[in-house]
Symmetry: C2
Subunit: 316 residues, 2 copies
Amino acid sequence: MMPVELRELHVFLVLAEELHFGRTAARLTLTPSRVSQVTRTLERRMGGRLFERTSRTVALTPLGEHLLAELRPVYERLEAVLAGTAARAAAVGPLRIGVTMTSEGPALSRLVRAFQDRHPGCEVSLHEVDVWDPYRALRRHEVDVLVNWLAVEEDDLRAGPPISHHQRVLAVARDHALAGRASIALEDLGDQIVAHPPEPFPAALADAIFPPRTPSGRPIRRVPVSRSISEIIAQVALGRIVHPTGTGMTAFARDDIALIPIIDLQPLSLGLIWLRAREDTTIQALTELARTQQPLLIPWPGHEQGARGSSRGTDG
Amino acid sequence: MMPVELRELHVFLVLAEELHFGRTAARLTLTPSRVSQVTRTLERRMGGRLFERTSRTVALTPLGEHLLAELRPVYERLEAVLAGTAARAAAVGPLRIGVTMTSEGPALSRLVRAFQDRHPGCEVSLHEVDVWDPYRALRRHEVDVLVNWLAVEEDDLRAGPPISHHQRVLAVARDHALAGRASIALEDLGDQIVAHPPEPFPAALADAIFPPRTPSGRPIRRVPVSRSISEIIAQVALGRIVHPTGTGMTAFARDDIALIPIIDLQPLSLGLIWLRAREDTTIQALTELARTQQPLLIPWPGHEQGARGSSRGTDG
DNA sequence: TTTCGTTACGTTAGTCGTAAAGATT
DNA sequence: AATCTTTACGACTAACGTAACGAAA
């Protein structure tokens, strides 16, 4: 036989309370007729009468009394569980966003502002994370979501929608040999020295930022760096290394550093990254919102036409 | 929005266990398609994703984990409540039948035998109750159902189907003035003395058994009796009182007592009486069974044609 | 290519209201 | 007569299966 449904139990509970078909129907926005039908159905499912009724009185049978006593607490608990789950689904809790010196920028600002607009009660905080081990903060639950380059190959992580696309530039000292060039190709890095991030910098990230070799196969020399982006900037300014990065990096916007477009490297994208297992409704709300926003396109200097998100359909 | 139904929760729980749409569908005798639809519906009702699924993997989201943890115990409890109620509805427990010296007879024997046939595991016991206060045993829950004359006007009691119809006879001493009569009328009781049952004998019952006056209005004299039917029988045999009763009363089938038909008194019916508030499934089973049986007709001596239940449609 | 989840679409079956009937005061 | 529950009947819609589609290994 078809199983009992919550609808019928609800009718039973209200009828057991009202002991009147008309009032029960009114409370449930049903007709008395329907209340009668449902009650009879439930009684047939249970295999016995639950109400003793005449056209003048409605009373619970002992079986009905038993069911009422047993069912009511369980039903109320069930309702609470469902309501609680729905509330949790709708709720948007405090959100901790991990950023690095290079991932914080106008795209993130725009996203955070839009998120705050939609969830005024939600507290959003930014936390700087270790550039060389950006995922650790995620895995230690110190941040809920990370903004970083979308070059992720970790099984426990999920790399979400991009928030900005960045053309590739090479940061060099103003007096560097390449500083006068209008643009360079990846092949030009064959003679240069780049930074070698310390362990445990993710390999996929390293490969995306620092191509291991030139198109012709020449290796690109790497020298270790110890601390942070700041150290790289200093080394670049000193002319000891060059640093391939993306457009729009304000940390490199210095008088003593020149940024030269690298024409044959694919753009990099900044985007949201989070722990697959902790994808709660807050993160979903954020990523959904990010998905609706057009990623900012950060072009090379002198190509500003797409820089303020007015371009469309230029994905990839 | 339409409320959540148990069907959907069941699908959720099985899918959360199997983490596979095909197996879930098989266990629920549904199609994978349907499982998908129901899951999606539940997710929309809850307002958030419950499963993270690709064509290769199915996993619970944090929201799904939460719902699973909260819902499973409640759902299992609910199932137990429903199953318990159904079991209770189907169950037929021990049955204690209250009888008096005059209410026990072939009709009850037939009913008990039929009941035992249908419910072999059910223990049926007979208990003699006070003739002068027959309902006390019911109200004290010493018996579940009473067999007595169906002349009940108590609000807490319910008088059910008759099991036998009895013509009226007057028990008199063999040497009594009326003993030679083939039949008498109620009017003849005007000169006689009948028993006066002690308190708290129910008034409706007293009126049914001992008419207060003759058709012409003459009162019928009553003298108190103290103990039981046995005392009445003794007093009748001594010729001190006469006693109106029903046909088929073996207690009065004695050589020193004559039973004379009273032609103008309505027949009395023996039947089942029980507490309205304790009408459980056992009582329902008994009364339902009694309703299906044709009441025995106990005629005056010499009118045996209807005595063994072969008569039909002679109700009333 | 196979497996698996999803979508589209048509059928079945349950849900529900209207109206009339039956019962009780 | 008025109130209340039940039954009969028909409209609507949710439940469900079939089949085709799309993604992943």
